[in-house]
Every structure is written in structure tokens, then in C-alpha cells.
């Protein structure tokens, strides 16, 4: 990205999300902070249960009750959006934030034509006449790479293939030209050939519309391909964040290193993949100190007691005591 440095479009500061239970509140997101600039694509990776989708849901204001934001701030273009009343948040969502979810079929209403859903969304957010809105809907479908949009606009979601449906969902998310797009696993349900087309589309959006994109995925290949920066999450916290090349090639956090080693690569032969033994802790049993310490190969006494914050590690920032000791 060749944009001048500026106020980030999205700022998330010390975000905490908790789920109250009978045995006390479970902290699902713990002091998560990051920002995304206009035209930038930030990838968020981690294993299931790391809190990556929840971070996206918190930003678009769609955390399922009883989950709630327990602290921190979310600012969009300088304006706080985490404490907005529901009606106002609905206007922000769609107008300023577009959301793309994993399963394109559940994001579309099967009873209405694609055009109806697009026109409705466009007219909710923009002052356009029905015919202008339809024009715009056709244009959006064309932009997202749907062939013959004039004909396809009057079809129902079931008449579209998986990749085409995901394009419709993207068109819906873009309907009001939002400043921020939160894409939660947008390519996971798709075949590789279609996945490549969708990534290409997201990159073009960030570049041409100067939209900020938060791309949540567990696929490192997609991250490498699409993102400018990447945040790695573990047990509700960001453990490493930085430029995508550094995080992939010189990861500073032992968890990131393990994660990268566990991915089969296309250009090298290894008899065994690196294995991180054990599993992600449950929310009700997050280990003391650094949450990764029971699975970490480089664990030190300090890791069991004190929780590391993000610290500088070359080009990236990582939350690991190894960096404080200067012992990497």
C-alpha cells in the first residue's frame, strides 16, 4: 500500500468480551488492541476458539447474548461504535461496515431474488430510487465478477453456485460502499480455484475503494496471498502482530512458529510436520501467565506466573518473555 500514514480507519483498544456463566464470567477476548488503515487488509489467524471470529463480531456489533463487551473501545474513523444504541448501530452496519460470512447460503434469504435483497440493502442506506438502486445492484454484481448480471439479478440464491453466491454476499456487503469490511472465513467453504477469485476481488476492493478489510481465516495461504499485516490470536489474545512476510518467515512467538511449521508446504519436502502438542485451552481453564506456556517448547519459570504484553520483535510485535530476555 502506498498510502500516506494517517489516522487508522478502525481502532480497537483493549477490547474485552465476556460471557457470564453461573460460575463467573468467562473472558473470551482479553485486551485485544489493533488498528487497520484505509486500503489495508489485516488478516486475523488462529485455531478454532482463539477468538478471531468473536473479534469480528464485536466490531460489527453482533455478539450473541449473553456475550457482551466488558471493556475497551472500538473506534471507526475516530467515532466510538461499541456503545451505540442498537438502532444507530444498524445504520452503521451496512452503511459503514460491511460483513461477509463463511457460509454464503445462510447470509442470503432463499425466498427473495438476489436483486430484491440488493435493492433493499441499497435503498436502506442510500437515497436512490428503485430503478437507480437496480442499476447499482447490477453494477455491483458486475464488479464482483458475476457474468450476465442483468439476467442473474432476478434469480434466487439457490440458482447460484457456491462461488457465485459468495460474490452476491460480497456485493451485498459492498452495497453502501462501506469504509470497513469484516470478512469472516469468506473462502473457507469454497474450492481453491474459486477461492483465488474471491481473494483477488477483496484485494481489488481494498486498493480501488480504499476500504479497510479485516480478513478472519485459519488458512495461512489465504493470509499470505491477501494481507498486508497479520494478527495471530491464541486463547483470546493477540500473541503476535506484524507485516505478513515477517510473521510468516521470521515469526517471533513460539506459537506462531509452531503454527507455520504445522502447515504442509508446496515447495519443500518434510517427512514430518512440526507438531504443537496439546490443544487450545478452554475458556474456563486458561493457564496462568502466558496462556501458551503448557504447550510451549521454550517455557521459562516467568512464563507460568507473569503474562507477557506485546513487545517489539524486529518488524513484528509479539507477546513473549523470550523477547524481554533477549534470548530468542
Amino acid at each position: 500500500m502506498t498510502l500516506p500514514p494517517q489516522v487508522p480507519l478502525l481502532e480497537v483498544e483493549r477490547l474485552r468480551v465476556e460471557f457470564p456463566t453461573r460460575r463467573g464470567a468467562l473472558l473470551a477476548l482479553d485486551e485485544v488492541s489493533f488498528s487497520i488503515a484505509a486500503g489495508e487488509i489485516l488478516g486475523v489467524v488462529g485455531e478454532s476458539g482463539a477468538g478471531k471470529s468473536l473479534t469480528g463480531a464485536a466490531i460489527i456489533g453482533l455478539i450473541e447474548p449473553p456475550g457482551r463487551i466488558a471493556g475497551g473501545e472500538i473506534r471507526l474513523e475516530g467515532r466510538r461504535i461499541d456503545k451505540l444504541p442498537p438502532a444507530e448501530m444498524r445504520r452503521v452496519r451496512g452503511r459503514q461496515i460491511g460483513a461477509i460470512f463463511q457460509d454464503p447460503l445462510t447470509s442470503l434469504n432463499p425466498l427473495y431474488t438476489v436483486g430484491h435483497q440488493l435493492v433493499q440493502t441499497i435503498r436502506t442506506h442510500l437515497p436512490l430510487s428503485p430503478s437507480q438502486a437496480r442499476e447499482r445492484a447490477i453494477d455491483l454484481l458486475r464488479q464482483t465478477g458475476i457474468p450476465a448480471p442483468e439476467a442473474r439479478i432476478d434469480q434466487y440464491p439457490h440458482q447460484f453456485s457456491g462461488g457465485m453466491r459468495q460474490r452476491v454476499v460480497i456485493a451485498l456487503a459492498l452495497a453502501a460502499e462501506p469504509r470497513l469490511i469484516v470478512a469472516d472465513e469468506p473462502t473457507t467453504a469454497l474450492d481453491v480455484s474459486i477461492q483465488a477469485q474471491i481473494i483477488f476481488l477483496l484485494k481489488r476492493l481494498a486498493r480501488e475503494h480504499h476500504a479497510a478489510v479485516m480478513l478472519v481465516t485459519h488458512d495461512m495461504g489465504v493470509i499470505a496471498e491477501a494481507c498486508d499485516r497479520v494478527a495471530v490470536m491464541y486463547a483470546g489474545r493477540i500473541v503476535e502482530i506484524g507485516p505478513v512476510q515477517q510473521v510468516i518467515h521470521q515469526p517471533a512467538h513460539p506459537y506462531t512458529r509452531g503454527l507455520m511449521g504445522s502447515i504442509p508446504a508446496m515447495d519443500e519436502d518434510r517427512e514430518r510436520l512440526t507438531q504443537i502438542d496439546g490443544t487450545m485451552p478452554r475458556l474456563n481453564a486458561i493457564p496462568s501467565g502466558c496462556a501458551f506456556h503448557p504447550r510451549c517448547a521454550c517455557v521459562m519459570p516467568r512464563c507460568r506466573q507473569e503474562r507477557p504484553e506485546l513487545m517489539d520483535a524486529g518488524a513484528t510485535r509479539a507477546a513473549c518473555w523470550l523477547l524481554a530476555e533477549g534470548a530468542v
Binding site: M164, G221, T274
Partner: protein
């Protein structure tokens, strides 16, 4: 080089011209009233391959290419419309209820994609792993059964204490280990694995793939490995078959297929994978999608998406043939155009 050389020993699994048609016609009344003909979809259409003992053949392709149907045909979860499966030189007739078929059945097992759906939630792990042992009468008494179950659980990296727990008490990766333990119970020679790691996180996937490789080495297992993830396939397989719309289009040793793919579809697939280590390289996104299998294109099914298609590709179906050490079905390669 499973397919071409090595005539020393017959392959463990031989698949000959396997085909499966599914009837997707409308209900009888609609057919009569609306005068619709019966409609069939060729899920698998004339697939042939061999797997030698101790080796892994991977089948790759996009959704709907028929790779899972091949897996199900092999273990008898579907009856083939045409063609046959030979196991150790013996024909597998799964509809036959003979002692020979039962003995064959014991030697091949299957691991499914979704470890949440493939384990009975109301059974304890002990019952799940013991079921094949009981079903095939492989143990004489309770003590032997328990000892067997304990051994199997330990072999897949679980503890003997886990036998008392229920599937919901395990994570996805651990459940997949339980599936593997169950599949190993009858001491099979051949495992059919249908997307065994697709539902798992990468770090857990690494654990399961490592386990599968260890088990293969220890027990001399052969695998048919179905996956859409080419990086995983490259890691686990010896030979790779690429499927498109129910047919194999290319089959070659792993190194060869990934280094110099011949079929235009294989090239397209390889080009489409987002790769960790080549990020930033300009990629031409693939155009088009898999056509509707109800109306497959004439000639070579790939021709509408193929940059090398000509009149012959549009009209004549390319033959499945051996060519320079690999197997391929492509007019352009056969004619030396690419």
C-alpha cells in the same frame, strides 16, 4: 510409479473402469405430467487406478468431481453401476453376503471427514472402538476385547482411560484419532480416508497427518487419501490422481505431478493454491467454475475452461492412456500441443 512399471507384485487394490450413476429424476408424477425424461448424473465415470501395498494414492479435485463417491464405491457404501474393484486379486462384490466378502471387508476400513458426525454420541469410546472387533468376531472374551481397545487407543496417541469417555468430551483432533483407532481395529491393510483433516485446525491437522504416516510405516498400511488440499496431498501421498467431473484426468507420481503437471486442469489447480512461500507472486485467477454435472460438456469435460481447447476437444472424449510414465486424458498432451 504405481501405474506403469513394477510388475513384480500385483497391486493391493485394482480399480477397473469404475462408474456410478445416480438417478436424480423428478418424482414419477412430475415425469408423467410434465413429460420429463429420467435424469442421471454420472458421479463417477470410468475411473481406473491401482494402489500398491504400503503406498498412498491421493485423489484431488474440486467439490462435486466425484472423489468422495470413488471412496464410497471402494468400501461398498455405494454399489457401482459399472466396473469392479479387485482387492489382493480378489473381486470385491459387496452385495454378496459370503464369508469371503466378510473377510475382505475386514481388510479395508474407512475414515470419514467429519469426526463429529461419524461417532455415535451415545456410545462410549470403548464401544465405538470395540464394535468392529465384535462384529467380525476377532476377540473371544471381554478381557481380550479390553486389551485390544487399550492397545488401539494407545496406538493413536490416546490413553486407555479415554475408553470410558463419550465423544463429546473430546476435541475434533482427538475424535479423529478415535475414528482412526476404530478403523484400525480389524487390522486392515487398506484405509480409505475421505478428507480426514479438512474439519481440523492446521496444528491439529499436523498431529493427525503425522500419526497417519507413523501408522503407515509401522503397519505397512496403504491409503486412498481424498482431499481438496493440494499441500496436504503433497505431504502425504506417493501418487496423485486428479479428478474432474467424475473422471480421472491425470495420474502421476507425486514429485512428477507437482513439478511438471501436464493436464491443463492440473496446471490450473496448482496455480490456484495460495502459497505461503510465494506470496506476492502475481496469480492469474482461474476463470469459470465446474460445470453442472447434470449437463456435462461434450468431448473433454474441461474444454469450456481450457485455454488449449480446439474442435477435437469439444467433440471427442479424450482416452485415458499411459504417456511418458504418467496416465493422462488430454488431446492436447497426446498431440504434443502442450
Amino acid at each position: 510409479m504405481t501405474q506403469v512399471d513394477h510388475k513384480t507384485q500385483p497391486p493391493l487394490v485394482e480399480v477397473r473402469d469404475l462408474a456410478k450413476l445416480f438417478d436424480v429424476s423428478s418424482p414419477w408424477l412430475n415425469r408423467v405430467v410434465e413429460r420429463q425424461p429420467r435424469r442421471y448424473v454420472h458421479a463417477v465415470d470410468g475411473v481406473s487406478f491401482d494402489i500398491e501395498a504400503g503406498r498412498t494414492l491421493a485423489l484431488v479435485g474440486e467439490s462435486g468431481c466425484g472423489k468422495s463417491t470413488v471412496a464410497r464405491l471402494l468400501v461398498g457404501l455405494h454399489a457401482p453401476t459399472r466396473g469392479q474393484v479387485l482387492f489382493d486379486g480378489q473381486r470385491a462384490d459387496w452385495h454378496e453376503r459370503s464369508a469371503r466378502t466378510r473377510a475382505l471387508r475386514r481388510r479395508m476400513q474407512m475414515i470419514f471427514q467429519d469426526p463429529y458426525a461419524s461417532l455415535n454420541p451415545r456410545w462410549r469410546v470403548r464401544e465405538i472402538v470395540a464394535e468392529p472387533l465384535r462384529e467380525h468376531g476377532l476377540v473371544r472374551d471381554r478381557g481380550e476385547l479390553d486389551a485390544n481397545v487399550d492397545d488401539l487407543l494407545r496406538a493413536v496417541g490416546l490413553s486407555a482411560l479415554d475408553a470410558r469417555r463419550y465423544p463429546h468430551q473430546f476435541s475434533g483432533g482427538q475424535r479423529q484419532r478415535i475414528s482412526i483407532a476404530r478403523a484400525l481395529a480389524t487390522r486392515p491393510a487398506f484405509l480409505v480416508c475421505d478428507e480426514p483433516t479438512s474439519a481440523l485446525d492446521v496444528s491439529v491437522q499436523a498431529q493427525v497427518l503425522n500419526l497417519m504416516k507413523d501408522l503407515q510405516r509401522e503397519r505397512g498400511l496403504s491409503y486412498l487419501f481424498i482431499s481438496h488440499n493440494l499441500a496436504v496431498v503433497r505431504h502425504v501421498s506417493d501418487d496423485v490422481g486428479v479428478m474432474y467431473l467424475g473422471r480421472l484426468v491425470e495420474l502421476a507420481p507425486k514429485a512428477r505431478l507437482f513439478a511438471s503437471p501436464r493436464h491443463p486442469y492440473t496446471r490450473m489447480l496448482l496455480d490456484a493454491i495460495p502459497d505461503l512461500h510465494m506470496s506476492g507472486r502475481p496469480r492469474t485467477p482461474v476463470q469459470g467454475e465446474v460445470p453442472n454435472p447434470l449437463q456435462p460438456p461434450s468431448g473433454c469435460a474441461f474444454h469450456p475452461r481450457c485455454p488449449h481447447a480446439n474442435a477435437r476437444c469439444r467433440s471427442e472424449r479424450p482416452a485415458w492412456q499411459s504417456l511418458q510414465g504418467i496416465k493422462i486424458a488430454c488431446h492436447a498432451v497426446e498431440e504434443g500441443r502442450i
